[in-house]
Symmetry: C2
Subunit: 218 residues, 2 copies
């Protein structure tokens, strides 16, 4: 009974997420079309923008959840358009490293996603709650090996959760030596270094010890 109700609730959440996903995809299509790109190519390019050192074909496939030959196809298309280049990997001559071409890098004026617009309706507290929930979900996916490691604060060796439990900036980054709050938790930090098991267990506390209320001010 309660079991059924819970399943129904989770099904609803899944449906809701899927509906948002549909819109994101549509927006991506609309945003990429003016540049002669499609959704897959745009995803690759956006991913490469945050990875100046490039990514292997295989890594791209893992990040985007498709098979390797699919990435080969799309990289070929992008290469033809001069938007990416293949480089040899010095450490492994079987591998290919794909980098965005310099002129593909600048952040283009993107068509505003409808989802971005809808996010404006959310209060500061709702945003922070949503971010926490998304991070928890993504971390759950990572733990289940459904996605490759993400470069999030909560899986980073430099992350110290809830060091100052009572302020607005309860967490601490040991790399940059600075406190910060939930709202600043990152999903794709360039300086990320994967935490070991002990640190990971500690980081997990961010989701357990505190109330569900994030800092909400401004």
């Amino acid at each position: 009974m309660a079991e059924n109700e819970n399943n129904a609730l989770r099904q609803r959440l899944l449906d809701g997420l899927e509906r948002i996903a549909t819109v994101l995809r549509e927006d991506s299509r609309r945003g990429a079309a003016p540049f002669g790109l499609n959704v897959a190519q745009d995803s690759i390019l956006r991913l490469l923008r945050t990875r100046p050192s490039g990514l292997r074909i295989r890594a791209l496939a893992g990040q985007l959840g498709v098979r390797q030959p699919t990435i080969t196809d799309s990289v070929n298309a992008l290469e033809r358009k001069g938007l990416v280049a293949r480089h040899a990997d010095p450490s492994d001559s079987r591998a290919t490293i794909v980098k965005a071409a310099p002129h593909a890098l600048p952040e283009r004026a993107r068509v505003r996603s409808a989802v971005a617009a809808a996010l404006e309706d959310l209060s500061s507290a709702e945003c922070a709650g949503l971010l926490r929930t998304l991070i928890k979900l993504i971390r759950g996916l990572q733990l289940r090996n459904a996605i490759p490691p993400q470069r999030m604060c909560v899986t980073c060796k430099y992350f110290r959760p809830n060091v100052y439990p009572d302020g607005d900036a309860p967490h601490y980054c040991a790399l940059v030596n600075a406190p910060f709050g939930d709202r600043a938790l990152r999903l794709d930090c360039p300086e990320h270094e994967e935490a070991g098991p002990a640190e990971a267990a500690q980081s997990w506390q961010i989701f357990q010890s505190r109330a569900h209320l994030p800092e909400a001010r401004e």
Copy 2:
């Protein structure tokens, strides 16, 4: 400054949602492949399952965020496989109504989505909060005409929010004459009837009057 920080936060939310979307898509691929379907065909079929009276080509395109000829393509593919049938629309002989074939209807044992598994990590309160936030986002998308009308409680003429503000079942459905709580808010109710402006304004109160804390028990 605070403006920048807000944009950064919303960008993170967008990134997080997109990451979930990628996984949903991958799961959909995995789940549909054993049946010889791809993502697009699976989406159409899943949509038709909740619409026994069928949908027009155009409506399918709107729901799935693609152009009409794309749907024609996919419906052709599904028709070849005998999973959907085209019917004439009695009220408009230009239109085609697509219905799922009877044997396509039974809920097939679906490959469990990795996102569904990750959702299990969420507490009851987090689930309820996420559902509320998703509903708010989807409603925002609908108001901005980014998506066609959805059949959610919060846009239904029979919905009465916060009638019993202090119990676990604060809302009321005037169609089935029953109270219910946030956790039972629907995204795709078969009995949905779009509310008029006055009722819509009232429904919106669900997002304003109460604290962010949903009922969390069990």
